[in-house]
Amino acid sequence: MRAILPWVAVLGFAMLAQVAVGPVVGHYWTKILMDVGIAVLLAVSLNIVNGFTGQFSIGHAGFMAVGGYTAGILTYYGGAALFDLPPGAVAPGIAGHLWFALSTLVGGVVAAVAGVVVGLPSLRLRGDYLAIVTLGFGEIMRVLLTRTEDVIGSAEELATAPWTTQVVSTGGSLGFTGLPFYTNLFWTWLWTGIAILVAYRLKESSTGRAMLSVREDEVASGAMGVRTTDVKVIAFAMAALFAGIAGGLFAHEIGTTLNPAELGFQKSFEIVIMVVLGGMGSVTGAALAATILTIVPELLREFSEYRMIVYAALLVVVMLVRPTGLLGHREIWHAWRRS
């Protein structure tokens, strides 16, 4: 019972967000709260690699792109075929939403597979190599996605296009436009809640401790019987899974376009900043930093072009004043304790 209750709580919380919070705060804040959820999902998942395992991945947006485009293809082209609708139409009722949920999940799984493929060779190496490989992966994804064909907009054209054409018709550098707006507060906060729960349970488990031991001292970790490469690959795959799901949510959110430029290095860097600012290894710290760094720029819209400057300055200040981030390795409910 104690094991199931948190899952029920996450589900209840997501439903509450959808039916009670959404209508009360209005469209503008609903959109911001969805942005916050996606940011939290990204930061909490990257924290599994950068915070728990101590590896430095700066290609998280690349996995987000893999998941987003996979889910997009499934809802846009797959949904059209499945529900016999024009491409990009929202399928009515629960069926459409279930198809969307499945699509984001498949996007996450494909991203996780990409994570293993990228991670297996590079995670054998130590330190900076991973950063370079993940950076390269993110850039390769971005460039590949700019080379795709135009989105097929009409039902007539779609009827004659084979699936092999469809999967590469994702809009190139203009972005995958016309995706149905399935993302709502329920799906966003359901996945985000699941990611937080998974990350926290991981941290408080033997697998999580193995990850932390790799961060602390990889040689000693191996000498204590921990298969360090396996542990790192697991962390990497889990992070990529949730990044892919975040990409699916982002792709189907109102007011965003899924385009390669959006999911480049800058996005990866923003997520890294959230993790570093929140405290490497702190689940709630990452969530808190992601929330702050999403809401504050929204409130300071006029200054939005200075955002990256502020981010960079903030990062320098935090490194000088609190090198371990806002919460360090601890969770928010430990924060009252003196370090």
Binding site: A3, L202, L212, E216, A223, R227
Partner: protein, 257 residues
């Protein structure tokens, strides 16, 4: 009877330097052997060879019946060869209890899915591991200190924690790399009785590197002396103490003086 740890003809070169050459050892089950030698004699290199950190250029190493050459350090550790480090290598940001529990990971039966779902089987294993980890802390004299961060423990206690962590692997053979280094005389006294107790209580075979001659001569039944990567003497404490080669390695030859 098969020795607990067996090495023959083990050699490794780093460039032109023969760090260890033709090393031999047969550590019997339940044995408490010592490995001494001047600084730079190759003692820690030898530990790194035995535990798979380095792969020997030639030679054979067996743990019981198991051939260790080419196995990863984690596989060697999981199969029953645990070690401590000369320069303490604890997981500093983790609690003492968590340091010990990391070593239990290799023996876990419940997987990732059970971990995330917190199944009853996972919970039972977690409880059992926690109790065992606390017992290991008690065994080395750190009872009730589990919640403290490793980096906040006093030096001597950090050395003890390293031993507790190694024991949690449930090893057959324990390699201790200068466990008394930096300890005060009183801590050394405690360590001496701890090493004996551990061997007797847990059916361990122990190989000890130590610079503190008093400790080595006192607890070890058999001593191997290394100098410049080669075994120059072996035998009981009384035998190696009077061995001219040993005296020369440590004090220099009388002619040169």
């Amino acid at each position: 009877m098969t020795p607990a740890l067996f090495a023959r003809g083990v050699s490794i070169r780093f460039g032109g330097l023969a760090a260890v050459s033709n090393f031999e050892l047969a550590l019997p089950v339940g044995g408490l052997y010592g490995l001494i030698g001047p600084n730079g004699a190759g003692k820690t290199t030898l530990f790194n060879l035995l535990t798979g950190v380095y792969r020997p250029d030639q030679g054979e190493i067996r743990l019981g019946e198991r051939d260790l050459i080419g196995s990863a350090p984690s596989a060697i550790a999981a199969s029953g060869l645990a070690r401590t480090f000369q320069n303490i290598r604890l997981f500093h940001q983790l609690s003492a209890l968590d340091n010990v529990r990391v070593a239990q990971f290799a023996h876990r039966r419940t997987g990732l899915v059970a971990t995330l779902l917190r199944t009853p089987a996972w919970r039972r294993e977690e409880e059992a591991d926690r109790a065992a980890a606390e017992a290991w802390l008690t065994a080395v004299g750190l009872e009730g200190r589990g919640a403290e961060l490793a980096r906040n423990l006093p030096y001597g206690d950090q050395r003890r924690l390293e031993i507790a962590r190694a024991l949690a692997l449930r090893p057959k053979v324990l390699l201790l790399d200068e466990p008394a280094a930096g300890m005060n005389p009183q801590e050394k006294l405690g360590l001496r009785s701890l090493i004996r107790t551990l061997r007797d209580t847990y059916d361990l075979s122990i190989l000890l590197i130590e610079h503190d001659m008093g400790l080595v001569m006192d607890v070890c039944e058999h001593i191997t002396v290394l100098d410049h990567g080669e075994v120059i003497a072996r035998g009981t404490a009384a035998e190696v103490q009077v061995d001219p080669a040993v005296v020369e390695a440590y004090l220099g030859s009388p002619e040169a003086a």
